[in-house]
Amino acid sequence: MPNMNMLQAINQALDIAMAEDDKVLCFGEDVGSFGGVFRATSHLQEKYGHARCFNTPIVEQGIVGFANGLASQGSVPVAEIQFADYIFPAFDQLVNETAKFRYRSGDLFNVGGLTLRAPYGGGIAGGHYHSQSPEAYFAHTPGLKIVIPRNPYEAKGLLLASIRDPDPVLFFEPKRLYRASTGEVPEEDYQLPLGEAAVTREGSDVTLVGWGAQMEVIERAVELAEKDGISCEVIDLRTILPWDEDTIVDSVLKTGRLVVTHEAPRTGGFAGEIAATVQERCFLYLESPVMRVTGLDTPFPQTLEKEYLPDHLKIHEAIRASVNF
């Protein structure tokens, strides 16, 4: 099995999807001959032509509006937003249109073919506008699916599943892993299921839940905790919406403790939803409060990024606090 990084895995998924179905189109800012500013769409225009892979003008609301129309017509658009921080001009098209298309028409029309890819997250000294993790903004929006991979293998399988899923999917790619995360990835076509969390490590004392680039950070924290003799169960949520409550609830019923982490600010972040649900469904089994290790309630900073981020040390402290409550 070849070893590749996350960008290569994503590029391969797009290539497979476009080769298989000529309804699949890839477009966005600088996505055409240049192959995207991160090169996720390299060579696709060469292979599949200008009509199916192209640059758009700089107008995110237009990119998503155009993609909504294409999807409602029966095409399978895979649009790119250059950075997740620039998805907000398209918020109306996503929240009022994409999410409600099928529902409002009574299933006469739908935009299920739509996949929107966007690099997200911090750790690259990108400041306010090249670091945000906007998943929670969309998690309050029934009708959307939100998927986030943690490594190249997951990225390829989840992206192929997202493109073929009958519902619109926001696919957020942890950009600090683009080149940093490498691993074995099968050359062939495969899919990983949406809506299912993955238990990546079994343990008995405390459950850790995260997604995307935080999974690496959790692993480092867990190594520290295991040295303290704490047995950790680790879960990658993978799909933020609709999320896999049962896998997490089952784990917490076993461990009695939960730590959730994400980079986005704490208030209104998705860890809050998980904590609220878990305290409701596991009330009598919880040995300590659900703990959240998150970004601060501030815009994303630049020089003090390290201090802002929910790193392995902060998670390790939370694990200890959870176990010693």
Binding site: A51, T56, G62, G69, D92, G106, L108, P242
Partner: protein
């Protein structure tokens, strides 16, 4: 490698004093065919419309007018929660639709029921939507007048203004790739043209050569806001110059001008994959909606002046002139239409709403486990308090009303 055309050749320079264009160098005239007396203007190129087609158009305009009047009355009687009239704009809407292929996609704003009437949406279908009953294609989820029809290629209406404009560009681009020789026509008001989505849509359509017709109904107002407070320019048409897009301004109350211009726009769109902008100058004769009272922002006198230009009257004169229609026919048809509207309304009113399960279906292609839990909790709750939820309860089996199977889980319900 695509490079900038002006990257190696310098722009042709001009010297002298700095000359600013003032923005109104280019006046865009209004194209017109039919005089207000129903006679074609001298030298005007009338479209080639046969008797049957002319009558189909006229009857659609008439049916739209009659339905609008009746439904507004029904709203006033409290039978309907909300309504919006097409009144005064029937020529623009029906004329544009008639010039299309019936399989072309139409994406409308909300005031274009005439397009659906023309394509054969039945009064029953209209009423089912307005009363949100179990036969409504939209399953009672949207406000009245938010119609949609897959078989008639009419996209379901969405309230947020302007969102359908870039969607139309995308839809048309898909049609081009599909190579089916079809195009998309998107209707919007001159108010909606102020949204950012308008700029996105026209620019992308020009760059990506999508076969889309942008049809702006400039009816003078956006709710209470007159066009002078919507834009400083001479209407919406001059914006096309900024996208290098074909454009024409027409008298929107002139059925022949609308038909002919749209027919030609369609040819440009489909044969050359070029978008076209049409600005139809018209007037919203009625209130913005049943919630609005225009006397607060415009004069009776102004309304009267426009009532003189009624597009239905103008077309009727033309038809009568050619002996394709008569006052007798008009009276009979109007009576029939009124009767039909009333009958279908009565039928639709009586039908029950969609069942409780439609609250959670179609959010996703399949109902998720969490939504199923929310529905189960809600079902139990409605069974416990059937009187408090007559609509939801009526869709549940009546003999389980007093069931003990009640959960206290409030999961979102």
């Amino acid at each position: 490698m695509t490079t900038r055309p002006d990257s190696t050749t310098p722009p042709a320079p001009m010297s002298g004093t700095p000359e600013f264009l003032a923005g109104d160098e280019y006046q865009i005239p209004t194209w017109c065919v039919l005089g207000e007396d129903g006679r074609p203007l001298e030298g005007a190129q009338a479209p080639d419309i046969e008797r049957d087609k002319a009558r189909r158009i006229y009857e659609a305009m008439l049916a739209t007018r009659v339905m609008d009047e009746r439904m507004m009355a029904a709203q006033r009687q409290g039978r309907l929660s909300f309504y919006m009239q097409c009144t005064g704009e029937e020529a623009a809407v029906v004329g544009a639709t008639a010039a299309l292929d019936d399989a072309d996609m139409i994406m409308a704003q909300y005031r274009e029921q005439g397009a659906l009437v023309y394509r054969g949406f039945s009064f029953d279908e209209f009423m089912n939507q307005m009363f949100g009953n179990e036969l409504d294609y939209g399953k009672g989820r949207q406000m009245p007048v938010h119609y949609g029809s897959r078989k008639l290629h009419y996209m379901t209406i969405s309230s947020p203004l302007g969102t359908q404009i870039p969607q139309a560009t995308g839809y048309a681009y898909g049609q081009k790739l599909a190579g089916n020789g079809l195009c998309t026509l998107v209707f919007f008001g001159e108010g909606a043209a102020s949204e950012g989505d308008f700029h996105a849509a026209l620019n992308m359509a020009a760059v990506h050569e999508a076969p889309v017709i942008f049809f702006c109904r400039n009816n003078g107002y956006a709710i209470s806001t007159p066009t002078v407070e919507q834009f400083a320019a001479d209407g919406v048409a001059p914006r096309a110059l900024g996208y290098r897009m074909h454009v024409i301004r027409i008298d929107g109350n002139d059925i022949l001008a609308v038909y002919r211009a749209t027919e030609e726009a369609r040819r440009i769109a489909v044969e050359h994959n070029k978008p076209v902008l049409i600005e139809a100058m018209t007037y919203r004769l009625a209130a913005h909606s049943s919630s609005d009272d225009p006397s607060g922002y415009r004069s009776r006198k102004e309304e009267e002046a426009w009532r003189e230009k009624d597009p239905i009257l103008r077309m009727k004169r033309w038809l009568i002139e050619r002996d394709w229609w008569s006052d007798d026919e008009e009276n009979t048809r109007q009576d029939e239409l009124r009767r039909e509207v009333l009958e279908t309304m009565k039928r639709a009113e009586k039908r029950p709403p969609s069942d409780l399960g439609t609250l959670v279906s179609d959010v996703y292609a399949d109902v998720t486990p969490a939504l199923q839990r929310q529905l189960d909790a809600l079902t139990a709750h409605v069974r416990r308090y059937p009187d408090a939820y007559p609509r939801g309860a009526s869709s549940l089996d009546p003999d389980v009303k007093n069931s003990a199977d009640v959960t206290t889980d409030q999961g979102g319900a």
